[in-house]
Symmetry: C2
DNA sequence: TCAACATTTAGCTAATTGGTTAAATGTCTT
DNA sequence: AAGACATTTAACCAATTAGCTAAATGTTGA
């Protein structure tokens, strides 16, 4: 998909937003860790059985992870297989974190007016 | 402070929880980025002036960042200087993220049938 | 086609969060 | 001591979130 620099910037901001919101809840972080430990692929049922909350609640957590791009879904018959997208997780969080490694010239952000 | 292994584990979980909750809001991530760009030290006023929301709102965001250990406070006269703790940020988020780099022994369980 | 299965979606409520304005706390200057 | 200054805390309200139960969707197999 072609897009302008500013659209790309907005999309990146949106991605960061979705990812950090998804990571804000302990259950969702836990789901990612469990999926990772089990090789990155699990059915919804296998995930839901590991948690004490109801299936619909886990289902919604999974949807939020999917919206953030941290998992993808592959329907296989009547099972839905969730696939951990650890590359996306690494990229989005890692790149954000990297801002705090680099020396940034003051002039970069100094002129930006916050408007939120 | 001395503590048992399990207490240490609980404290680490608590730290992760606080940090990811703090990072869940765009304004708080923004505050960290601005502080970093300005060298890691800013007064509450200098921070608050950059945002369009009211001072008490920014003040609360700062308190949440402080509770997570991502900033510390140094009172200097009538000014409160906030200090970015980028080491803590790097350590907590980086170590969590690192789980998704490593091959975990549990992934051997992948071949074991889950449902029973 | 019917029933059992795997899972999500709908609809509701309780708890949490983020925003506001007004009052309070503590410091500096004269 | 008085008043300006820097900032937080208190109290309140609106929006969002996370949990639940019940109903719906789509799949498999007799």
């Amino acid at each position: 998909m072609l897009m302008s620099d500013s659209s790309k910037g907005l999309n990146e901001l949106h991605e960061i937003e979705q990812v950090f919101k998804a990571l804000a809840h302990a259950s969702r972080r836990h789901i990612l860790i469990v999926m990772n430990a089990r090789g990155g692929n699990m059915t919804a049922g296998a995930i839901a059985r590991r948690f004490s909350c109801s299936w619909p609640t886990t289902s919604r957590h999974l949807r939020m992870l999917a919206n953030a791009g941290l998992v993808t879904i592959q329907k296989q018959g009547r099972e839905w297989v969730y696939v951990l997208e650890s590359k996306t997780l690494q990229r989005v969080v890692g790149e954000w974190l990297n801002w705090f490694n680099v020396e940034h010239p003051l002039s970069d952000l100094d002129s930006i007016k916050e408007t939120e």
